[in-house]
Amino acid sequence: MRRVFLLIGLLAACAAEPERPRSPSGFLGVEQAEPRPVPEVPLVDSRGEPYDLAAAARGKVLLLFFGYTSCPDICPVHLANIAAVLERMPAAVQREVLTVFVTADPLRDSLPRLHGWVKGFNRDFVGLTGAPWAVDSAQVALGLVPAVLDTVGGRLQDYLVGHAGQVIAFTRDGLARVHYPFGTRQRDWAADLPRLIAWPEAP
């Protein structure tokens, strides 16, 4: 008898997956107490043209992520999840969201490589690169720890890059209001994107 109860208890625990707590404004992501502005550093897009990130993001929701194209485990998962959710959203919502990937490995990520990789997820995604100091400065300006090259084992060509795991979401006023850590699920994005677009109104 007792065993049966235990089993039922376990089943209930599995079925009722805990919902993530919402932030004060109702986001599933991590709301920032002191939202920071879009960093203004010289960056170029994957065609080599100067790219004014603040101007491009004006009036839009900007999803910004720093990673590298040789990254197999974290970066592609974030981008693939965002791409999948956007594809299911109405065109009116898609138009309001600008997704930007900045390479934290500008020495290895050539323009063609960056272009092909980023556009592979969604042709509207933007890949940016810049001088290492500019890319580092952008991360510091957002309160992130700048990415580092992990050359453990002396693999000078085939190194890994340690980088911040969160996607930074800017609301339409140009402030980085919510951080999305690795592990953010597609359904979390689906819930939060309309809220990011509508902010400061409720969706």
Binding site: T69, S70, P76, V77, A83, L144, V148, G165, F182, G183
Partner: protein
């Protein structure tokens, strides 16, 4: 339900050797320009002796065992020389944790393809898997 799913997966893309079973194996690749790929799977040791995963290999390129961990605000990957499996233990290689990293890819690998992955255990010996390749990202 979970268990039934796991059993179905075992039939599709699992393998056994000694007391070791491997299930839910999948290789995930980025949509374009992928230079490497991550392999995810669950290894269980149902035997009575401890075992160790000591090496991996594949027909798509050299395979390293890595672990992603957070350190000082950064996500970093560290090579893991071997993975210990106590009797009764199960270890998941999953996004953001342990994973098999094929790098560099020596042939083009796309969703729909399959990759032969060989896991070399100290006791169970070689476990060879035919692993489906899927696009990166998960809808859960």
């Amino acid at each position: 339900m979970r268990r039934m799913l796991a059993l179905v997966a075992l039939a599709a893309c699992g393998g056994t050797g000694g007391g070791i079973t491997v299930r839910d194996a999948v290789v995930r690749v980025a949509p374009a320009e992928a230079r490497n790929a991550a392999g995810y799977l669950v290894i269980a040791n149902s035997g009575r002796v401890a075992d160790t995963l000591r090496a991996l290999s594949s027909d798509a390129g050299p395979v390293e065992l890595h672990r992603t961990r957070e350190e000082g605000g950064l996500l970093r990957m560290e090579p893991v020389p071997a993975l210990a499996l106590a009797p009764g233990a199960a270890v998941a290689l999953e996004p953001g944790g342990y994973h098999a990293m094929i790098r560099p890819l020596v042939r083009h690998v796309a969703p729909g393809d399959s990759v032969t992955l060989v896991l070399d255990f100290a006791h169970a010996g070689a476990v060879t898997l035919r692993v489906p390749v899927r696009a990166v990202g998960r809808d859960d």
